[in-house]
């Protein structure tokens, strides 16, 4: 939203808005995250890993749905794809975790390109249903084709990295996601992407090649999701089709982004913190956890459709409006 206006508005004087300061803050944050496993107890590193994975998934989903209008229920298809590619390469080709994760991202990209021809013919709800079908199809494929261990799945046959190392991989993945999101949402590309979201036909009429724009967003999101899936697989050490292609991987990012703020820059991050925190606080009462998440969703959709970030933005604007009136 600030692509065009930030240069000209007087708000530039507020230091936190200047790009240099933002980059410095982001770098410090990531340095702190990389160092975190040294000081934090293992329990918190575990939760932190979970949080990082969820943020990456939610960022990718927010890019598709919030900025591109592509409401996908196919997150689990790319998540599971990444898991199988990663474990396969580690077991069969002796690949290192980073190589395997990079290959997962490439596999995600390839599947996104192949599927885009068909999926982008569908619009709105039909696209959503199409992505759901993709996840189901991939799961059945993995179960029925003999190479993937059927319904039992696969085990990682080499020694697994420690949680501290995994946490650092996740941090790097998040850094990548943050960089990609900064480029995709703060650039001229974001203007085109949001135009396609608001009205694809009208966008074509002003020269936007809607297919390419959607494909770019779809590829980036799929690559991120596949890497996250691979990382999760390394952490578990064992994968099976019902877990890796589970519907929860499609639904959780959606819930997180709606709680945090659909189409809001920090929606994914805020939503993920909330979601994981609730999950941990109520770990002993799983049914309560689901109920509270559900009620939260209902309340937010009814009273704050732009999520927690939307609420915060409205509150900031109200506070910001008062001093501005003092010196016109």
């Amino acid at each position: 939203m600030t692509v065009l206006t930030s240069q000209s508005t007087p708000q530039r004087t507020i230091s936190i808005r200047s790009p240099a300061i933002r980059i410095v803050i982001a770098c410090i944050a990531f340095a702190a995250l990389l160092a975190a496993p040294i000081v934090l107890p293992t329990y918190f590193v575990e939760i932190g890993f979970k949080l990082l994975i969820y943020i990456v998934l939610a960022e990718a989903w927010n890019l598709l749905a919030g900025y591109g209008g592509l409401v996908s229920l196919g997150t689990s298809s790319f998540f599971g794809l990444g898991a199988y590619v990663t474990v396969g390469l580690i077991n069969q080709a002796g690949a290192g975790p980073l190589q395997a994760l990079a290959a997962s991202a490439l596999a995600g990209t390839a599947v996104a390109i192949v599927m885009s021809r068909g999926l982008f013919r569908l619009r709105g709800l039909y696209f959503t249903v199409g992505t759901l079908a993709l996840a189901e199809a991939l799961r059945l494929f993995v179960i029925n084709v003999p190479w993937f261990g059927g319904a039992t799945g696969l085990f990682v046959t080499v020694d697994l990295p420690e949680i501290a190392a995994l946490f650092r991989y996740a941090t790097l993945l998040l850094a990548l996601a943050a960089l990609v999101m900064a480029l995709a949402t703060g650039s001229r590309f974001s203007v085109l992407l949001r135009a396609v979201r608001d009205d694809e036909d009208a966008a074509s009429q002003v020269g936007v090649r809607a297919f390419r724009i959607k494909l770019a967003a779809f590829i980036v999101a799929s690559a991120l999701i596949a890497s996250a899936g691979g990382l999760q697989a390394i952490k578990l050490g064992a994968i099976e089709p019902y877990g890796s292609f589970g519907l929860q991987w499609s639904v959780d990012p959606l819930a997180i982004v709606i709680i945090g703020g659909l189409g809001m820059r920090f929606g994914a991050m805020v939503g993920a913190v909330f979601f994981v925190a609730i999950g941990e606080l109520l770990a002993d009462y799983p049914e309560l956890h689901v109920a509270i998440t559900g009620v939260t969703l209902i309340l937010l959709i009814r009273f704050a459709p732009r999520g927690i970030c939307g609420l915060a933005e409205a509150a900031l604007r109200r506070r910001g409006a008062a001093p501005q009136e003092a010196h016109p």
Binding site: R194, D198, V208, R209
Partner: protein, 510 residues
């Protein structure tokens, strides 16, 4: 026509046709347009004009014919590629990118065609376009927050951001009053730089007359006639299918001078009765913006009250206030003696206020008949049938198309449907908001004939209208609103004669 016939035309469409199943929207249309020329396309509602724009812009794939642009065959190219070659179009019903600012709406075209344009150049271009289109004050406003007519301006601005060689304008003049039409004409003329070609679809005859060099008349999807503007407008054939009573062109150019054709209204018998509707010191607005200030007016039973004023004066806001779609910030509204200020819209409708909203608001997924029945729920079947027959008698064309989808019928038929839907509730008061918007003159005649008939039957009506002459013809009393206040009231004859009306409508305000 012959002057530039030697060079290859910018646009050469031959034998263009489009069928939707059995319905032929366009059939064998030939259009040639040379560089720098302005071509007008006129025709009755439903003649296939918007389909033609769709075919040229690439939104609709033709079933027959081919299109050449700058010598290249572009028939198979999608809309985005045609836009990149320099064909910019507007939508008749604006389709801005709602969740983006006005500036961003323009930036879409800029960044799409030249992703690496310098920010300073892009900003300067946008500023220039927005100033020309009268949107300079709305640069950072979200398109969602723009009213209908400003969205129409945004349509033009967004198309201009492409720097098109061929500009397709689909009814951008609809709903404008004379001073605004003058601004639009000035804008179109400023775009005629000898390089850019323009195709204008328009019902506002003044724009056609003053901007278009040549004219094509379309009827039933075929070219009826074509030629230089003056010749075409003078032909009898055209006046029969299209111009109707406004033939001669005086109506739009000088509303004051045009003769009043209908008989002077006989004041209703109920002069001493209590008013059906009374507004007392009403103020209303949207968020911070107050649109209506301390406004009072009353409507007697059986009376027809015209509400006139420039765009942005508060006419539509007033209509929404009366139908209770918009809360008031001060004042009271009484209907048939009861205070209805706090009632929700459906309760106001139940008491007998029907609102025929600007922009028709037809339910697309319902058939014509279902659209009518929606507003007559909880009514006995026999009575329902009776009312339907009544509407079908008023607008026979609706009876013919009763099973068609609500928005598949032409603009004029949709407007008739909107009126019919308002009447189905058997209301005591109907608010008609801009029913002539975007209609062919001959269709406007038909709608206002229907209104005159309703008036004879004693229906109380509030007519919000930008076409002064038509409103004054049907109204007993008229109020002129300016900046949210009533500046002139009186019987239709008095208002018609008043100097202030002329000032308001010819842009000599203040």
């Amino acid at each position: 026509m012959t002057a530039a016939a030697h060079s290859a035309p910018l646009l050469d469409a031959a034998g263009l046709g489009k069928r939707y199943g059995g319905v032929v929207a366009n059939d064998g249309i030939d259009i040639r347009l040379d560089k720098g020329r302005v071509l007008g396309v006129i025709g009755p509602n439903g003649a296939g004009k918007s389909t033609l724009i769709g075919l040229l812009g690439g939104a609709i794939a033709p079933s027959a014919g081919r299109i050449r642009f700058e010598g290249d065959d572009i028939t198979a190219l999608p809309a985005s590629e045609r836009a990149r070659r320099g064909i910019g179009r507007t939508y008749q019903i604006p389709r801005p990118f709602l969740d983006m600012t006005v500036a961003e709406n323009l930036a879409v075209g800029q960044f799409s065609l030249s992703p690496f344009i310098s920010a300073a150049t892009a900003t300067a271009e946008r500023r220039d376009i927005l100033e020309r289109c009268g949107l300079a004050d709305a640069t950072d406003v979200k398109a969602r927050d723009l009213p209908l007519l400003r969205r129409k301006r945004l349509e033009v601005a967004r198309a201009l951001a492409l720097k098109p060689k061929l500009l397709l304008l689909d009814e951008v003049g609809a709903g404008l009053i004379d001073s605004e039409v003058s601004e639009l004409i000035a804008l179109i003329r400023s775009l005629q730089d000898g390089e850019r070609s323009i195709i204008i679809i328009e019902h506002v005859i003044r724009i056609v007359k003053e901007c278009c060099e040549d004219l094509v008349v379309i009827n039933f999807g075929k070219v009826l006639t074509k030629g230089p503007t003056a010749e075409v407008l003078a032909s009898d054939e055209v006046s029969a299918v299209y111009l109707g009573t406004s033939h001669g062109g005086a109506a739009n150019a000088s509303p004051i001078a045009a003769p009043s054709t209908t008989a002077d209204p006989a004041p209703s018998a109920s002069a001493t009765a209590a008013p059906l509707l009374a507004l007392e010191g009403v103020s209303a607005g949207y968020g911070q913006a107050r649109v209506i200030h301390d406004l009072s007016l009353s409507v007697m039973p059986g009376q027809v009250v015209g509400i006139l004023g420039t765009n942005g004066a508060g006419k539509t806001t007033l209509a929404h206030v009366i139908s209770r779609a918009l809360p008031v910030t001060a004042g009271r509204i009484r209907f048939a003696g009861d205070d209805i200020t706090a009632l929700p819209p459906h309760a106001a409708a139940a008491r007998g206020i029907a609102h025929c909203m600007e922009g028709r608001r037809i339910f697309a997924s319902l058939s014509v008949e279902e659209n009518l029945l929606v507003s007559a729920r909880n009514v006995a079947t026999a009575q329902c049938k009776e009312r339907l027959e009544r509407i079908y008698a008023l607008f026979p064309v609706l009876a013919e198309r009763r099973h068609a989808a609500g928005t598949s019928i032409s603009g004029g038929q949709q407007q008739a449907l909107a009126i019919g839907r308002a009447l189905m509730a058997k209301p005591r008061l109907v608010i008609f908001d801009e029913i002539s918007l975007g209609l062919a003159p001959v269709m406007m005649d038909r709608l206002y004939e229907a209104l005159a008939e309703l008036k004879r039957e004693g229906l109380t009506m509030l007519v919000v209208e930008q076409d002064v002459e038509r409103a004054l013809d049907v109204a007993d009393v008229a109020h002129i609103i300016n900046k949210g206040r009533i500046t002139l009231s009186g019987s239709a004859a008095v208002v018609r004669a008043d100097e202030r009306l002329r000032h308001l409508y010819f842009g000599i305000e203040d």
